[in-house]
């Protein structure tokens, strides 16, 4: 099923935006820039609006999710909005008891550890995603020509949360299950792929102009593990967007070993973390893949002249790819001074 004719990508609003053109491999006059986790915790206006609202409740209240998504676009004049949500939102909407514990992250009440836990998982009801569609529609109505990027967690990262019961250092339980019970592992990852895939699809249908699949913890895998036990499921997640001509971005932390394999799941654009320079990433990808990244978030707290030199270096190295969207190499740290982000946008835009 194609996108509807009043979708922002088709009705003239975002199709020729700098972000979409760069995602499609063109070089617009001005290099586009946005920041992973730009919406949320680093902004005072966000902290104000969140008072009295639990994190996941905010994600599921369309007015709040939409407003939080728009805040950084107004403040920083970035070239894209990223939908404010959390990777566990679709899991919650599929019936899993999960909460975000401040200072810790998502905590699953009953971790999925046995074959029977996996067998008990039920597919997500498409109607459960209505609050997401509503929030996206409200957001794109106000974004005008700025594209909204849809967002979802990749199956491995999502499954790791479910198996571990929350954030973990090296996803050991999850990786054990991968070998001890490969069939249940495959079933679980397919479930995660379908849940994330539907979540992404709902955002695209409601008006998002691009999609980004995050595999935050892919860095704990060997290339062989990734290719055999994970990549087919990530591919399955993206397959939910079949028929939609939207750019698909894939990003993982610590992805140097598997960058090429991650691209091979069907991504159009690769997000690169701060560990490898963009020219090296481009070389590993064969030189014909648009890149996104990869300012080291640690430098956001450094004196401006150091950060400025780093951003210029990132942009220089980005020239080795067919096109480049400036971003961080990971999410915005919570203690970041928002003015620094605005200043980076000015630098990238050449203001």
């Amino acid at each position: 099923m194609p996108l509807s004719s009043d979708h922002p990508l088709l009705d003239g609003r975002t199709g020729q935006s700098a972000l979409i053109r760069a995602y499609r491999g063109e070089r617009p006059d001005v290099t586009p820039v946005w920041f992973m986790r730009q919406a949320g915790r680093s902004l005072p206006e966000y902290r104000e609006i969140r008072v009295g609202n639990a994190m996941l409740d905010a994600c599921l209240t369309p007015e709040l999710a939409s407003e939080i998504t728009l805040q950084p676009v107004r403040r920083h004049r970035v070239d894209a909005a990223i939908f404010f949500s959390d990777i566990v939102i679709p899991v919650k909407l599929a019936g899993i008891d999960v909460e975000i514990v401040p200072g810790r992250g998502p905590v699953i009440a009953s971790p999925i550890r046995s074959a029977s836990d996996v067998a008990a998982l039920r597919p997500i009801d498409p109607a459960a995603l209505d609050p997401i569609r509503e929030a996206v529609a409200m957001t794109v109505a106000q974004l005008g020509s700025t594209p909204l990027i849809g967002f979802a967690g990749a199956p491995f990262t999502l499954a790791s949360y479910l198996v571990e019961g929350g954030p973990s250092k090296d996803q050991q339980r999850a990786r054990t299950m991968m070998y001890a019970d490969p069939q249940s592992w495959a079933t679980l990852l397919n479930w995660c792929a379908d849940v994330s895939g539907e979540f992404l699809k709902a955002q695209i249908e409601a008006g998002a102009s691009a999609a980004q699949l995050f595999d935050s913890w892919v860095g704990s895998l060997s290339e062989q593990q990734y290719v055999r036990r994970v990549a087919p499921h990530s591919k399955r997640a993206l397959s939910h967007l079949r028929g939609f001509d939207v750019p698909k971005v894939h990003f993982g932390v610590g992805s140097g070993e598997v960058l090429k394999a991650m691209h091979d799941i069907g991504a159009d654009v690769m997000g690169v973390d701060w560990r490898i320079p963009l020219d090296e990433a481009s070389r590993r990808l064969g030189g014909d893949v648009p890149l996104q990244g990869n300012i080291d978030p640690a430098l956001l707290g450094a004196p401006w002249h150091i950060l400025e030199a780093h951003v210029r270096d990132v942009m220089d190295r980005g020239l080795s790819a067919p096109s480049h969207v400036v971003n961080l190499g990971h999410g915005v740290p919570p203690d970041t001074d928002p003015d620094v982000l605005s200043r980076i946008v000015g630098l990238v835009h050449g203001d």
């Binding site: 490969p182 069939q183 495959a186 079933t187 055999r228």
Partner: protein, 401 residues
């Protein structure tokens, strides 16, 4: 809507379904029993996970090893112990298998290890092979006819018959020469004698063992293939038969057309506490000549002597597996008696930790009916290497078509 329905969830069916699904086809697999894998399956005996069916594979062509590598078991392919197999002749004590032989046909008929098995008279008769004109018996249809005419009945019945029976479960008179030993007929013409042909073929075989296993058991193939079916989205339906009209798309038959036709084989597995077996008195096991006095089993595998990983896992105990063409009345007692006689070690009930009986039906060779796409043992013959190669070829054809 399903593109392909695979009927039968043994290794052949799983291999076809997996390859088609990876190639983007939508695949349904129906299996009548409640589990996948067919004869490549697992059972627990004495607390040890063991192969209930196939326990090794032929390395020829690299077919099985290539699949193992693809499904993440590449580092788990292991060679059996070099201790070698033994033979239980019709009479007398068990003897080590002659070092140079092809399906039991000796490369040096007068070698001491050959004389030990067939006796001096029979060995001298076999040596005549060297002076009989090379044209003699070249047109023999069966393996049995060729060996009898060139080397005599001694070699045939005492050496070749037990080994051929162990591999193909047939007497050499009932198996075509070119199927049992491809290339042997041409080598005979070129080398001038059967013994020289055997030596030539052994010399030109690749180094290393002709069989291999998987650390942890062959059943790991089934586990990994089942996971792949899940990963690549094959719709697996267990406990379901394929009634005509209830299945869609192109149909691949991966089960024999007649599930009751074939040969029954009974496997008796003994886990025993018997330190006398630590020395592996009969190497990796024995093949039994037909008519061997007082023995009912056709073969015995000393699994813990054959596989290093299993020896470690068994923690001092021993695993023995005996195969029977005809099941004796008291299987456990007979297996214990046979094992004692074959291994030359006294084993009694007190040494038995656990016992298991498994029955398999080896489907008769049938060939595929017209218009039916068939994979599996009934068309590819026995052995995983042939079954997997044929299944992969069928999948490639379907993907190309």
């Amino acid at each position: 809507m399903t593109d392909v329905t695979v009927v039968g969830g043994g290794v052949a069916g799983m291999v076809v379904a997996r390859r088609l699904a990876m190639g983007g086809r939508s695949v349904t697999l129906v299996e009548a029993s409640d589990h996948l894998g067919g004869t490549v399956s697992r059972h627990m005996v004495g607390g040890i996970d063991l192969d209930a069916g196939a326990e090794s594979f032929a390395t020829r062509g690299g077919t099985v090893a290539a699949l193992a590598a693809e499904i993440g078991l590449g580092d788990e392919v292991v060679s059996p112990s070099t201790a070698g197999a033994w033979l239980q002749p019709v009479s007398g004590p068990a003897v080590a298998m002659p070092a140079t032989n092809l399906l039991g046909i000796p490369g040096t008929p007068l070698a001491a290890d050959v004389i030990a098995v067939i006796g001096q008279r029979a060995a001298i008769r076999a040596e005549l092979d060297a002076i009989i004109p090379s044209l003699w018996a070249r047109k023999s249809l069966t393996l049995g006819a060729l060996v009898r005419r060139r080397m005599g009945a001694g070699v045939l019945e005492k050496l070749v018959a037990p080994i051929v029976h162990g591999v193909h479960s047939l007497h050499p008179d009932d198996i075509q020469l070119d199927r049992a030993a491809p290339g042997l007929r041409a080598a005979l013409a070129r080398e001038g004698s059967l013994a020289a042909a055997v030596r030539f073929m052994r010399d030109s075989a690749p180094a290393g063992s002709s069989v291999a296993g998987i650390r942890g058991g062959m059943h790991r193939l089934t586990t990994e293939l089942a996971a792949d079916l899940e990963t690549y989205g094959v719709d697996v339906q267990l406990g379901r038969t394929a009634e005509p009209g209830s299945i869609g798309g192109t149909v691949v038959r991966a089960a024999p057309a007649d599930p009751t036709a074939g040969r029954r084989i009974v496997l008796a597995t003994l886990v025993v506490d018997a330190p006398q077996l630590d020395a592996a008195p009969r190497g990796t096991g024995l093949l039994v000549a037909q008519g061997a006095a007082g023995i009912t089993a056709r073969a015995l595998t000393h699994s813990t002597a054959k596989w290093e990983w299993l020896r470690e896992r068994a923690a001092g105990r021993h695993v023995l597996r005996l195969s029977y063409d005809e099941e004796p009345g008291k299987l456990q007692a007979t297996a214990l008696q046979d094992a004692s006689a074959l291994l030359g070690v006294r084993l009694d009930d007190s040494s038995v930790v656990d016992f298991a009986r498994v029955e398999w039906l080896r489907p008769a060779a049938s060939g595929a009916a017209a218009g039916v796409i068939q994979v599996g043992e009934s068309v590819a013959g026995s052995g995983l290497a042939g079954v997997i190669r044929q299944a992969e070829a069928v999948a490639q054809e379907l993907l190309a078509g």
